[in-house]
């Protein structure tokens, strides 16, 4: 139905897609998977006319096509459902469904009676009963998603592209959605389905294409493909691959103190986290593993007070932290180095000095006046200690390399003397040399007695950098790897594990039994874990 061959797309500095072949067939649900930056969204945007390819052919129904705008693609019969519902919340369901193609009666005026009737019928066909005159925003996200789907289908779509449609749906809404997808498939519509949720892929998809670093690394039927194999294709690691020595700059394990400095229990955020518990001890690096969308960044944000919690809490050094407040978390000694340093971290127009001093300013001023000499001293210390390469403290941060920007951010948080450091993808997008330096720094910081939580989608970095690895899936802890289990192999197996089955054939030591472990891990240490144990027996 829709075929691309030899597709290339380059953005300044990045080759987003190179020589990609992809075919969506009529009556087939085709999964498109890959980690962050693999090129999925770029491919989708080329398919739907948002981007123009640099090279390669796009063929629709056997004849070459070129979609100049999303509208052109839509008119040709390619509809897209985005992760976020892209409808108008203040307008009624029927108006949303029919925008731009309202049935009109005499004088060209809209025939509302017919529109409401047809809207009701269309939605009923998808198993949704709603008052179509109500504003869309009064409906739940799942129902809104269903309306978006109905709209996509109603415009006589022959290809429907779904970009993580389930990311904000309740389980029962997912079931309804899957019913609809099956109906579409049976009607001979080609569905392209993007998701990170393994279980969903295996439930609904017929074929799969795996992208990694802008290339297709695998394409074929999903049924015969093992989960473990799929995960290793996505991450680019072979199962059982020998652990390469000395590739990262992490040293061995650290001597962790006995008492945890941070304990988080049952962190729950609707649609994102389902009862995540973890504890960090001074002097250890704990890795947070899992695929994209498993709740890694959300966990870090929840701990740092950047996400409002529905349930659960964080205790630092025995004192509960007021939830949902970053200020309270910072005061308690929790610092988060966010994933997206450009939008959430550095201020590129300010100097190195100002960027470092930003968070620490309140503590550095007296009577509202900033103590310049003290700032100079602190900035100087950190620039030396973190080996920040800049022309001087007054150079603009925007002019530094990615690695040095990251170090400036690190310095900003270290200036607050945190007890706990949460690092979300600290080495993403920085060159190899700087990567090694940041990794070495993380090591040093842990040796100095900081508790570090490390998030990384690079399995190697995660394994070599961490003393323990907590594996997340669908917003819950599925496994904790300790001691000898901290291997890439163990990580891949834990990620690929099917629900309700043990992660590995042999049951290993319980999660709390780390070499130095004194603290019993909290009772809610991970619901999936207990279920895994149960079904083993």
């Amino acid at each position: 139905m829709l075929t691309v061959t030899g597709l290339c797309k380059t953005f300044p500095g990045v080759r987003a897609l190179s020589d990609v072949d992809f075919t969506a067939r009529a009556g087939e649900v085709h999964a498109l998977v890959g980690e962050n930056g693999a090129g999925k969204s770029t491919l989708i945007k080329v398919l739907t006319g948002v981007y123009q390819p640099d090279a390669g052919e796009l063929a629709y129904d056997g004849s070459p096509v070129r979609f100049a705008t999303p509208l052109a693609a839509q008119q040709a019969g390619i509809s897209t459902i985005y992760q976020e519902v892209n409808l108008v919340p203040l307008m009624s369901v029927a108006r949303n469904l029919f925008l731009g193609r309202e049935p009109r009666g005499r004088l060209g005026l809209i025939d509302f009676r017919r529109m409401h009737r047809e809207a009701r019928e269309t939605l009923r066909g998808l198993g949704v009963e709603v008052d179509v005159r109500r504003p869309l925003r009064e409906l739940g996200v799942g129902t809104q998603q269903m309306v978006a789907l109905a709209r996509a289908v109603a415009v006589d779509a022959r290809v429907v592209v779904m970009d993580e449609p389930t990311s904000s749906l309740e389980p029962r809404e997912v079931r309804t959605l899957f019913g609809v997808i099956r109906t579409l498939r049976d009607r001979g519509i080609a569905v392209v389905y993007v998701s990170h949720r393994m279980d969903e892929l295996y439930e609904i998809c017929d074929a799969v294409t795996v992208l990694r670093d802008g290339r297709v690394v695998h394409t074929g039927q999903l049924a015969g493909l093992e989960r473990l194999k799929l995960v290793s294709l996505m991450l680019g690691r072979e199962v059982g691959e020998v652990r390469a020595e000395g590739l990262t700059k992490f040293s061995g394990t650290h001597d962790a103190a006995a008492q945890p400095v941070l304990e988080a229990t049952g962190l729950t955020v609707r649609h994102q986290l389902a009862g995540v518990s973890l504890s960090l001890r001074p002097g250890e690096v704990v890795g947070l593993g899992g695929l994209l969308g498993s709740g890694r960044s959300e966990t870090a944000k929840a701990v740092a007070g950047a996400l409002p919690l529905d349930d659960g809490g964080v205790v630092v050094a025995g004192v509960p932290v007021r939830p949902g407040s970053t200020a309270a978390a910072i005061r308690a000694g929790i610092s988060l180095l966010p994933e997206d340093r450009k939008s959430e971290g550095i201020v590129p127009g300010l100097s190195v000095r100002e960027n470092i001093a930003l968070a620490a300013l309140p503590g550095l001023s007296r009577f509202g006046l900033v103590d310049d000499a003290r700032i100079d001293r602190i900035v100087d210390t950190f620039m030396k200690r973190l080996r920040i390469k800049a022309a001087g403290p007054h150079q603009k941060v925007g002019e530094l390399s990615g690695g040095n920007q990251q170090k400036v951010l690190l310095a900003r948080w270290l200036a607050l003397h945190p007890k706990v450091l949460l690092l979300d993808e600290p080495t993403r997008g920085i060159d190899v040399g700087a990567k090694a330096e940041v990794q070495a720094l993380v090591d040093e910081l842990a040796d100095d007695g900081l508790a570090v939580l490390l998030i990384s989608s690079d399995p190697e970095e995660l394994i070599e950098g961490s003393d323990r690895v907590i594996v997340l899936k669908d917003g819950a802890v599925v496994r904790e790897l300790t001691g000898d289990e901290v291997t890439e192999d163990g990580l891949l197996r834990a990620i690929a594990a099917e629900p309700g089955r043990p992660a590995e054939p042999t049951r290993l030591a319980p999660p709390a039994a780390t070499p130095t472990a004194a603290p019993a891990s909290p009772p809610a240490a991970g619901p999936a874990e207990t279920s895994a144990g149960d079904s083993d027996g």
Partner: protein, 343 residues
């Protein structure tokens, strides 16, 4: 639903999909929506009742007609403004265009009624068109673009009238003057025209595809574009409409006053915006009704009238009252909006 038969399960599932909130929560949400839509109407009723009890002169034919006439011009400007605000935009140029329209009409009336009417409509419509093109095609902020044309139109006006020292008069016996002065069935022509325009406008806003696009663009511009709505064309349309409305209001005003008065219209853009917002339209776009705007205009004018009736109060206070009222409405809107979104 005690037994778990296949059928009940299915029904439970669809019910779960359709009914998301507990009924109580939904009722209070509905109430907020009603309050948002009709709050101004209730207030208007209260003020009118209080005023007619308090002042014998309030509910007299003369006074009512006076209010209706003076409301008419603001109402026509606010009509165009409603379209603009529903798209999430703002038009600051209407006050200047109102004055410019008046002067152009008065000047044009010497060449006949057709010129007197068409000239302001075309010129002000063109200014609106340019506003729309700049906003839609170049992505400039409506505030800045219309601020610029507000200053520009004011400048043109001053040039036309020798810095305001020259006043063009309308011939009292002409048909054009009748448009402002005539009163079939005891109600002034401008009021008739205004009512007709509001009926027409409401049909366009609620019952045509263009109207749907207006709501869609204001409700979620990105989504509207993805759904294939002509976002740029819709924006150009509403600013042009707003310009035309301002020009027409100015022309009618000139016919009523039988002269083009240059000092009118300053601050009118803010009055129109207040009326639209008091009428329940969201400044953030995507929600609003012309009926609400009409109520908003009436409310502003009634308050003005009441303050005038209280002889002891300085008429300057009416702006204080209008301002306070606007603040209350905006606060109430934010509060209601938040309630509806949270639930």
């Amino acid at each position: 639903m005690t037994t778990g038969t296949e059928e009940t399960v299915v029904r439970a599932e669809t019910a779960a999909v359709s009914g998301d909130d507990p009924p109580g929560a939904r009722r209070s949400e509905r109430l907020s929506a009603v309050a948002q839509q009709h709050g101004a109407l209730v207030t208007l009723a209260v003020v009118v009742v209080a005023a007619s009890l308090g002042f014998d002169t309030f509910l007299t034919g003369d006074n009512l007609e006076n209010m209706a006439l003076s409301s008419a011009f603001l109402a026509v400007v606010a009509l165009g403004m409603t379209f603009v605000i529903v798209t999430g935009g703002i038009d600051l140029s209407v006050g200047s265009l109102f004055a410019l329209g008046g002067v152009l009409a008065a000047w044009g009336s010497q060449y006949g009624t057709v010129v007197a009417l068409l000239l302001p409509l075309v010129v002000c419509g063109l200014v609106g068109l340019v506003n729309g093109l700049l906003i839609a095609r170049s992505g400039l902020a409506p505030f800045i673009v219309t601020l610029a044309s507000m200053l520009g139109a004011r400048g043109v006006l001053l040039a036309l009238t020798d810095e305001g020292s020259r006043t063009y008069l309308v011939d009292k016996g002409s048909f054009f003057a009748d448009l402002g002065q005539g009163a079939p069935l005891g109600i002034g022509v401008p009021v008739w025209i205004t009512v007709a325009l509001f009926v027409l406008g409401a049909v366009v806003l609620r019952r045509t595809r263009f109207g749907q696009y207006v709501y869609a663009v204001g409700g979620n511009e990105d989504a509207a574009a993805l759904m294939g709505a002509p976002v740029a064309r819709t924006k150009v349309g509403v600013y042009t409409l707003s310009g035309v409305c301002a020009g027409l209001a100015g022309a009618l005003n000139a016919a009523w006053l039988v002269s083009g008065v240059t000092i009118l219209g300053s601050g009118m853009e803010l009055e129109a915006i207040s009326a639209v917002v008091i009428g329940g339209s969201l400044l953030t776009g995507g929600f609003g009704y012309l009926s609400g705007t009409l109520v908003g205009v009436a409310l502003l004018k009634v308050i003005q009238n009441v303050i005038n009736q209280i002889g002891s109060l300085d008429s300057a206070y009416q702006q204080v009252v209008s301002g306070a009222f606007l603040a209350v409405v905006v606060i109430a809107q934010t509060w209601l909006g938040r309630r509806q979104r949270v639930l």
